[in-house]
């Protein structure tokens, strides 16, 4: 029981990280109907930029942890967002109106490029980072087993929730969010009504990349090691989350991500660690086959 409770805490934390990535997938899919295959690698870039940010702060002698966190958060979001913008500008925008699979293939190329770019510039070895935040709260303690939630996990959950709130408000309340929703419904009509659709799409990528950077930072803090390859698997899992929740739906993405995080954690805890990726991939396949519109998605009616 206590073991399960501990897994619940761990699973929620993992799910939060996936959720931040999944939002990028779901927003981009919602607005231009493409799978941004390189999004997982944008997350990886975010993790590397965060690592470099921490190292720079270390050199600058800033050791007050909350300040360092905030600075690195801003640093990583800024630089990663620029990557997101550039990827869209170079690899996707010229392909708008091209045949359906062209952007996907282009995105795969971008994904390979980003992985190898980071590998070439930063080396192939895993990058360790010392834990920044240690200790935690003991939730329950019965005999030998303690159920703890570390400060790190609390930090991750709280940051994610704050980010989610901010971006949900952004989409629900601001004119940018309205433009995004309009583009999602009907891009041509939105353009006729004077919305700069290219700019809106760019901003969607920028927001997605910024959230992926937050996820990268959280991943770095939580696991303490990163390498250039983390984006591929994390990206597929986040995509699975977005599909499970109903692609195009923001709350769906978060819900799906929490489920994926929980399933993966419990699967590793009770069944087999080696096959944990198989679990995520199988969920993806099963969802797409039996529940293509996801848990909170709308049913798409195809018109001829």
């Amino acid at each position: 029981m206590d073991y399960a409770l501990q897994q619940l805490v761990n699973g929620l934390t993992l799910g939060m990280i996936y959720g931040l990535i999944a939002i990028g997938y779901t927003m981009v899919y919602g607005i231009i109907g493409m799978i941004n295959f390189a999004h997982g690698d944008i997350f990886m870039v975010g993790a590397f930029v965060s690592l470099i940010g921490f190292l720079l702060l270390g050199l600058a002698g800033i050791s007050f942890v909350p300040l360092a966190l905030v600075l690195v958060l801003v640093f990583a979001m800024g630089f990663t967002a620029l990557w997101g913008y550039t990827v869209e500008r170079i690899a996707y925008r010229p392909l708008r109106g091209s045949f359906r699979l062209a952007p996907l293939i282009s995105a795969i190329g971008m994904s390979i490029f980003l992985q190898n770019f980071v590998q070439v510039t930063q080396g192939a070895r895993v990058k360790p980072m010392e834990p920044l935040v240690t200790g935690g709260l003991v939730l329950r303690s019965t005999g030998s087993i303690e159920v703890t939630i570390s400060w790190m996990q609390i930090l991750i959950i709280v940051t994610t929730l704050v980010m989610l709130t901010v971006f949900t408000l952004l989409i629900a309340r601001t004119s940018l969010g309205r433009a995004m929703r309009a583009c999602e419904q009907d891009r041509r009509m939105a353009a006729l009504l004077g919305i700069d659709t290219d700019r809106t799409i760019s901003l969607t990528f920028v927001i997605g990349a910024a959230l992926a950077a937050v996820a990268g930072l959280m991943y770095l803090l939580y696991y303490g090691v990163i390498d250039f390859y983390i984006g591929f698997i994390a990206g597929i899992k986040a995509f699975t989350a977005a599909v499970l929740g109903g692609i195009g739906s923001l709350p769906g993405a978060v819900l799906g991500a929490l489920l994926i995080g929980l399933i993966e954690t419990f699967w590793s805890a009770y069944l087999s660690v080696q096959y944990k990726d198989v679990a995520a991939f199988s969920i993806l396949a099963i969802t797409l086959i039996f529940l293509p519109s996801g848990l909170l998605g709308r049913n798409e009616v195809e018109k001829v």
Partner: protein
């Protein structure tokens, strides 16, 4: 006179305005490059005594920025010149028809030349072991490309997990040889069947999915197969792979350095040489690849091939005409998978050792890139693309990471520049009266 001067002045003004625009774009691009590169290029994480530290690399960063600036400038100038020329020229006709008969003749001649070259290659003076080995590798990818071409190019189903069937073929043969002592020639058709069966098993549940969803699910299946191969240690040897896979025989005659009556060299009265097996493997894959090609070409004439192409062009129309979409898609999946299985069996017997490392997603992406670069549907294009791609990889084999970097960029560039690949015409397989190749850019794309 006055008017003429004014016109010249206006043109000069637009030209300066244009130059200003180009310069502004280049400066912006350089600024973006600065932002992109500042953390990742400009700083390098290196191990320190405690954890990591960063060291600056300003030279690399500013070099990259300069490259981007100059590149953007050149691109801007090129685009402006092209736009200027296009404005002067008469507008191009909306539908460009490839002159009837011209492109096919050229393609046929090139294909024939390539085929003759491939047949003669082992006997060309200067072709040693290295060259033949490289040619064998290229042909393996030509075959994989042609196999995937059936799925992607003809049926229009984007399969990102094609390497799974390659793995099924390779492991299928290795396990058959290990546990049942089945020779290569008996195993070859079985691996094809096995892979085709897997194609149907994996294909069946996903056929309802739209193009990009299908792509992701096939990717997931490919990864599942790889993870299973990696972790099912008792059967597959896990990360250590399977070794000691029997080498092929010349219809029962083994290639052996010992010579003697029972071996290839002894039977034909030749001096035993390690080159015999290399050459034999080369012709084996050439024959397998040509078989793939032949079957594809024949199937295109066959109703099922026409159904594939119909499905690719417009799924809804194909369905309305009474085609069973499931059956059509499944045959495409199974046929493509079968050739992947053949290629896998060949790979296993050639290497004598296989491990899950050979069947990663990158491999699928490489095969897909060959098909896409080749023009999705063009047999000659796929072969050319395989030669360019694998040859290019071989040229830069010492620069392992850089070549993947360039590979990724090339995939993007091809999509942006020529989304239809190098050989971008779609020749209809059947035509009423006259055969006309329509430039692929004008062919509508169905939802698929």
């Amino acid at each position: 006179m006055m008017r003429h001067e004014a016109a010249v002045g206006a043109r000069a003004a637009t030209r300066t305005g244009q130059a200003g625009h180009i310069l502004r774009d280049a400066v912006l691009a350089a600024l973006v490059a600065l932002g992109l590169g500042a953390p990742l290029l400009g700083l390098q994480t290196v191990p320190a005594e405690r954890g990591l530290t960063v060291i600056p690399r300003p030279g690399l960063l500013f070099g990259a920025i300069a490259c981007v600036f100059v590149g953007r400038l050149a691109l801007g100038a090129f685009m402006a010149r092209r736009a200027g020329r296009a404005a002067l020229a008469t507008p191009a006709p909306r539908f460009r028809l490839v002159p009837p008969g011209f492109a096919p003749t050229l393609g046929k001649a090139a294909g024939l030349a390539l085929l003759l070259f491939a047949l003669a290659l082992p006997f060309i003076p200067g072709a040693g072991r290295y060259e033949i080995d490289l040619a064998t590798l290229v042909l393996t990818y030509v075959m994989l490309g042609w196999g995937l071409n059936i799925v992607v190019g003809l049926a229009g189903l984007l399969d990102l997990g094609y390497v799974a069937f390659y793995a099924v073929g390779a492991y299928g043969y290795a396990l058959m040889a290990k546990y049942f002592d089945i020779g290569f020639w008996a195993a070859l058709p079985l691996t094809g069947l096995l892979a085709a069966a897997w194609g149907i098993i994996l294909g069946f549940p996903v056929l309802r999915l739209r193009g990009d969803y299908l792509a992701i699910v096939t990717l997931a299946f490919g990864e599942i197969i790889r993870v299973v191969l990696l972790n099912w240690v008792s059967l597959t040897g896990g990360p250590n792979g399977l070794s000691g896979i029997p080498r092929p025989t010349f219809f029962g005659l083994p290639f052996s350095m010992a010579g003697g009556p029972g071996t290839f060299a002894g039977f034909f009265g030749l001096e035993p040489s390690p080159l015999h097996r290399v050459i034999f493997l080369y012709y084996l894959i050439l024959a397998l690849a040509l078989l793939t090609n032949l079957v594809t070409i024949r199937l295109r004439q066959h109703p099922i091939g026409r159904a594939w192409e119909a499905l690719r062009e417009d799924e809804i129309a194909a369905r309305s005409l009474g085609l069973s979409v499931v059956a059509v898609k499944l045959t495409a999946f199974a046929t493509g998978a079968m050739f992947g299985g053949f290629a896998g069996a060949f790979f296993a017997t050639r290497q004598g050792f296989i491990s899950p490392e050979s069947f990663t997603f990158i491999e699928s992406a490489l095969i897909l890139a060959i098909v896409v670069l080749g023009g999705m549907g063009s047999q000659l294009g796929v072969a050319t693309a395989a030669i360019v791609m694998i040859g290019g990889f071989e040229l830069f084999r010492d620069l392992e990471e850089f070549r993947m970097l360039v590979f990724g960029l090339a995939m993007v560039a091809i999509m942006v520049w020529r989304p239809r690949g190098l050989v971008a015409t779609r020749e209809p397989s059947v035509a009423l009266k006259e055969r006309r190749g329509v430039a692929a850019a004008h062919v509508g794309e169905g939802r698929g």
